[in-house]
């Protein structure tokens, strides 16, 4: 369920009706931002679902996740050694 896709807010269109324009890979669409209005600014990335912005993407967290994933092979070897001592029921 839940086809959501990240897009960037490129313009605020109608403040009263909570409409902003987002860009997804060069495609633009107007969406409703009332669910994220308090915190949304121009240039923010949001998750778009059925014409609504559902949440603002935390770019720092996104980078952290990617960093973690990319480094999983190398730097976590130490931790793995420690874990090997404990066992799963």
């Amino acid at each position: 369920m839940c086809l959501g896709i990240p897009g960037q807010i490129v313009e605020f269109i109608d403040d009263e009706k909570n409409i902003a324009k987002v860009d997804v890979s060069g495609i633009k669409r107007n969406i409703n931002v009332c669910l994220v209005k308090e915190d949304a600014s121009l240039g923010d990335w949001v998750l778009i679902h059925v014409g609504f912005a559902m949440s603002i993407l935390d770019e720092k967290e996104a980078q952290e996740t990617l960093k973690f994933l990319r480094e999983l092979d190398g730097s976590l070897e130490e931790e793995m050694k420690l874990l090997k001592q404990s066992d799963i029921n």
């Binding site: 369920m1 839940c2 086809l3 896709i5 997804v24 890979s25 060069g26 495609i27 633009k28 669409r29 107007n30 778009i48 059925v50």
Partner: protein
């Protein structure tokens, strides 16, 4: 409640049996025409091969390729003959209109059979109330497209129907081409080991039309890729004789066309997801709408199945033509599993790529 669940092996056994029984056989179960019968996928095949083709059956028709190959008594020469009708809505869309679509589409059906397209007929069905200015624009586009493709429109017909009985304009084009040298291109010719070439980025036409038609309110700079392909195909055939099959990836997209080849030739086709060219905007639109770009219609792209030793030569020939600048090798033909097309995903996994089922309704949830 004791329930017997079939094992994996039993299930595969059954599916295989049913598939073998159905191979090449399409069944029409519907009682009325539904829109899917026209979208080029499984339903279309069911209608055409399950009923219409059966009734008209004869050796020339039964080949069911893009063009019929006609012998000429007392000569080695052969003709290619094809027809197509155009009902696209809206009739004017980014990158073209129904008229040039009609000319290019028929030219391409002739070109992919290996013939040199020469003459077209044009049949117009016009709705009462349709603007003459619009009609003139369409006719002028058709002439321009014909000139660009090097063909002549030599005969035609015009009918007018009452308001409401047609949607502005429907166009039928039929075309004749001449085979310049003995060549045998057909869906039945793919061999294990052959390479699969794609002439350019996919999805442009279908997405351009969908965005123009539906109330999806998406702004995008996506143009239809409608274009005559006889020039670039000629370059390809001049470069190498080891082309086994050519097909333009129209309704149903690349996935449908590859499935047709796999079924007809009784081979498997493997495609590498990472090699498939697609414009970022088209990709974006597909992601938003939940569509698979491999099932979206193109009007200026084709697949070439080429013997592996000549694949690089063929690719060069395509890339040397401006229409094929983004051409690439996207996969290969394998011996088995017969009749199956699958994708090697960017992640390193696999998935089966089926023919389009029904209309490409966007997936939302």
């Amino acid at each position: 409640m004791a329930q017997q669940f079939q094992t994996l092996d039993e299930a595969l056994e059954k599916i295989e049996k049913v598939r073998q029984a159905r191979q090449g056989k399409f069944y029409l179960k519907d009682k009325t025409i539904i829109l899917s019968h026209g979208s080029g996928g499984t339903a279309s095949h069911n209608l055409i091969e399950g009923m219409i083709g059966k009734i008209f059956s004869n050796p020339l028709l039964d080949q069911m390729d893009d063009s019929a190959i006609l012998p000429i008594n007392g000569s080695d020469a052969r003709l290619a003959f094809t027809t197509d009708s155009y009902v696209v809505s809206p009739i004017f869309f980014p990158g073209g209109n129904i008229g040039e679509l009609a000319v290019n589409g028929t030219v391409n059906d002739l070109a992919v059979s290996g013939a040199h397209p020469l003459w077209l007929s044009v049949g117009l069905i016009l709705e009462e109330g349709f603007a003459i200015a619009d009609l003139k624009q369409i006719i002028e586009s058709m002439q321009a497209a014909a000139e660009k493709a090097g063909v002549q429109i030599v005969t035609g017909d015009t009918k007018v129907v009452q308001r409401g009985s047609a949607d502005k304009i429907f166009i039928n084009t039929a075309g004749i081409g001449l085979f310049q040298f003995p060549i045998n291109l057909s869906s039945f010719n793919a061999q294990p080991g052959d390479k699969v070439l794609l002439s350019g980025p996919i999805g442009d036409h279908g997405i351009a039309v969908m965005l123009a038609r539906e109330a999806l309110e998406i702004e995008a700079d996506i143009q239809s890729d409608t274009a005559p392909l006889n020039g670039i195909i000629q370059n390809l055939l001049d470069a190498t004789k080891a082309i086994h099959c050519l097909k333009d990836a129209t309704r149903g997209g690349v996935a449908t066309v590859l499935n047709e080849i796999a079924l007809s030739s009784n081979v498997a086709i493997a495609v590498d997801e990472e090699t498939i060219p697609i414009r970022p905007e088209v990709n974006g639109a597909c992601e938003i709408l939940g569509l698979d770009p491999l099932t979206i219609a193109n009007e200026g792209r084709f697949i070439a199945i080429v013997a592996s030793e000549d694949a690089e030569t063929a690719l060069q020939a395509l890339q040397n033509n401006p229409q094929g600048s983004e051409a690439c090798i996207i996969g290969e033909v394998l011996e088995e599993p017969e009749g199956m097309v699958f994708l090697r995903t960017a992640l390193g996994g696999h998935r089966v790529l089926d023919m389009l089922v029904g209309d490409p309704l966007p997936r939302i949830c």
